[in-house]
Symmetry: D2
């Protein structure tokens, strides 16, 4: 995800399916001097709902970027009951990472920021343990240790929320953060908190999924990247992957093999989010091609 050389804009759209939608939207772009860089769309047949992602360059645009949303709304969106979000390539989003003790997902995310595979800033890392502070230090990122117990959870979430505001955080990644966020906290970041669950959801929701998988005797284990909602482990799935286990593998082997999968799935989920390739409706994530 190198930063685009030319400034571009990405539009995410959903609305009731109607005849001529692609025509109307591409017509808007064409007549305002945009050149489409990529376009993808789906219709959910069951609900007759239309989803679209379109990205165009702004080089010759006859609308100033700051007014595109307004013009699109007036010329197109209102008429077709379109709900849309708009993202500009110039803006570099801010991602907070929440961790506990396990380092593998954190290292993977940070090494991708370091290698500029992710077009993002990481202003802070939040943790309920001290363990990973040295990693934050190595990468020059602020580390906030906010230990959580039964008595202080609300207070610590309040502090965390203030930190998010202070750092102007756009979205949060739970990189094996072993705490459940309150609904109230999550409600400040709708479809902007990404979690990695170390099972193939909906199998083995809840705690200790590798232990449960071992107990059940499955032949394949999985990991799921999803947006966090009020229902634990029930949020819209962004990405999943699996790995075959071998006869004789212990729970420790499950964990070891699973970690490579967890971090790959989480990184892919974050990448899709950063590319604005995801759109949530009815607790399902539409994943567009880029």
């Amino acid at each position: 995800m190198t930063h685009n050389i030319l400034p571009s804009v990405t539009l995410l759209i959903d609305c009731p399916d109607q005849k001529g939608l692609v025509y109307q939207i591409t017509s808007f772009i064409f007549h305002h001097q945009g050149n489409i860089l990529s376009i993808d769309q789906y219709v959910d047949e069951a609900t007759q709902w239309f989803f679209m992602r379109v990205k165009w360059d702004l080089q010759h645009s006859d609308i100033p970027p700051a007014h595109i949303a307004e013009v699109f709304d007036k010329e197109i969106a209102q008429q077709y009951q379109i709900r849309f979000k708009i993202f500009f390539s110039e803006y570099k989003p801010k991602m907070a990472i929440f961790v506990s003790k396990a380092a593998h997902c954190l290292y993977d995310l940070l090494s991708k920021v370091y290698s500029k595979d992710f077009w993002v800033d990481v202003p802070c890392i939040i943790s309920n343990h001290e363990d990973l502070r040295t990693i934050a230090d190595d990468f020059g990122i602020a580390f906030h240790h906010l230990p959580i117990d039964a008595s202080n959870k609300n207070a610590q979430e309040e502090i965390t929320l203030n930190l998010m505001k202070q750092y102007e955080v756009d979205f949060i990644v739970l990189a094996r953060y072993m705490q459940v966020l309150s609904d109230s906290f999550v409600s400040h970041f709708p479809n902007n908190v990404i979690n990695i669950h170390h099972s193939f959801l909906p199998a083995f929701a809840g705690a200790k999924p590798y232990h449960a998988a071992f107990e059940r005797g499955v032949k394949i284990i999985g990991a799921t990247g999803h947006y966090v909602t009020a229902d634990l482990d029930e949020g819209p799935i962004i990405e999943q992957d699996v790995i075959r286990i071998e006869q004789g593998d212990s729970i420790k082997d499950f964990i070891r093999k699973g970690q490579d999968m967890e971090k790959a799935v989480l990184s892919r989920s974050v990448y899709l989010h950063l590319q604005h390739q995801t759109l949530v409706r009815n607790n399902k994530t539409v994943v567009f091609k880029a």
Copy 2:
């Protein structure tokens, strides 16, 4: 699975883990002039239980095949509290196939019998519908139509059970058979009824798993081959596989893509069973290498 040129015997063993088990068992084979063709063993650390599969040729055996079980029991098994099963390569097992209307798994199994990939006889096909009779006819296999409704289930199972006895059936394959067998029926074939469930168990147990998967928005669908027990969709898993779905796939696409996976997973499960590579304990299937 070509028939072995030399007569051989396969021994499946499980017992509490003890020092010297591999030595004692291989010593037995060596001193009775057996040549080991393959051997595989595991220890479940949690329960300290030992599992082993060993196969040797009988060419120079100083024990007549009919007495091997007895001699092994006396010389080895009793001392180490070993539970074992013994299978001779000379014996060609008899497999009944139960179907409803879907042909894909049936075709796959029969084409493997036809191509001699499976060392097995199929004396009969049982179905609650007439639809697939012509396939049975093409392959020259007896087809029994036993329609099932709320009022006749027990009676039809009784007839089915008698057919199994009459055909001397060793094990049963449910090739997308859309009926639940009674516990009583299953109890006649412990770990000898193989089912294919069209989801990645334990996710989406029960009816219409593809619909449930679509509804949940998973990114990967699966299939599970398992032994049937009294608990529906809870039996010991033999084999699983998954396939990635694509954005835009409808439930019909899930079904279409899933069918190739279902038949592959079912065939692999049957193959492992025919090779005596499976051993069930505590509702889990140990799968040995051959």
Copy 3:
């Protein structure tokens, strides 16, 4: 692939990338009263080439189906140097299958025709061996035995070509047909002969790929569905898949495990072809979503 309830048309397009292409094409459909059922497009950045597949229903079309190509050519294609192909859902294509002795791919294809997963007719099966005649008989398909040796190859291809004309065959599937077709023969069916090669091309092109894979010690084996061109095993790839082998697997195990993969990959390749989801340029196959 059930037959569409409403008559529809699929257009495959490629041309130099230009501003406004999606707009112009969807405008054409919109203004001729078409309702887009699906649309997919790509730009190859390296060559600045545009590819598109669009499918729309003809219910309210103001152009008679027989004239759509002509009108599209005049109104759109000429102006943008568009190369296009057009397919009507009403037409049921005719597929010839060429086989040798191995039955697995043939069974898989025919069972999919039988189950109406493929919207296609199979007027004939061609083979250089008698072995699979009974399968053709079971499915009521004409079987032509055309044995091939060094002396009669040209003559037999001539006969085959006449059979293709007589049966009005649209495309040919080589379902583990162990003969190399001449360039001359292939030239009559450009991008209309589909082959399954039992390796992950370009690895192990040529004869006995499983033996070569075993010899090299790879940990994963593959299969490749591709269009046949004058260069053996070098044609445009439609679909590929792989399967992990296990330590201890013999060449026989490679073959056994590979067969399930071969037939799945071949069937998926045929399905994509039947859905008009493939477009070949520069020896590469663009695969559209449906």
Copy 4:
């Protein structure tokens, strides 16, 4: 790979296949008071060659560790022409990592050392570029910058070889090191230099495999971990994996997606090596279960 609580020993064996080998070897262990922790063996049918890995605890061993090799040689190995290697769990091996500019594999390896997933010390990192020095610094590992050009290659290899001796390095990992080591250098570390090649070998050996894969139009890309031999990209394969690419992916996407696969495959290869699960014969790697 936590360090074993009890001291244990791992024996890797290969020899011509003979009757009674498992019996003789397990008899040796049993009669010297060893308790087998894991055992795995294979026979290559084509060459009639026997391979075995056996690991037992030394708690009650009646032979001092330092003498086990000698006693095993005298009592068993000589008689059966057994070639063997012996490894003690007490010994923590030393791994050198060679890098160029890409950080992803290095980060992955070091994060696994940091998390104690790998039982290994990393005394030094060698690079022909300065880029990754800060990472070495963060992990407190000596970093040696040895730039290489046409004129100084031999001299720099000589220096490198001396560093390997000075650090008492047991094996070397090429973590996307973009230089070809001379045969002379490699000959000092037979089956002890592990490389990651970013293709599914033997496909796309040599430089720029992602570009070659893109050009050929494959649908799946891969990575291969292998031991380095005198023949570039032809060494014994330890581990491979693949990832499906999507229509529309550019070479940059291939590289991005491939990197997660590369580091996972390299880490798994290193893990297998550290566990002494690999044994090379005839340019193929036997991979034992642990």
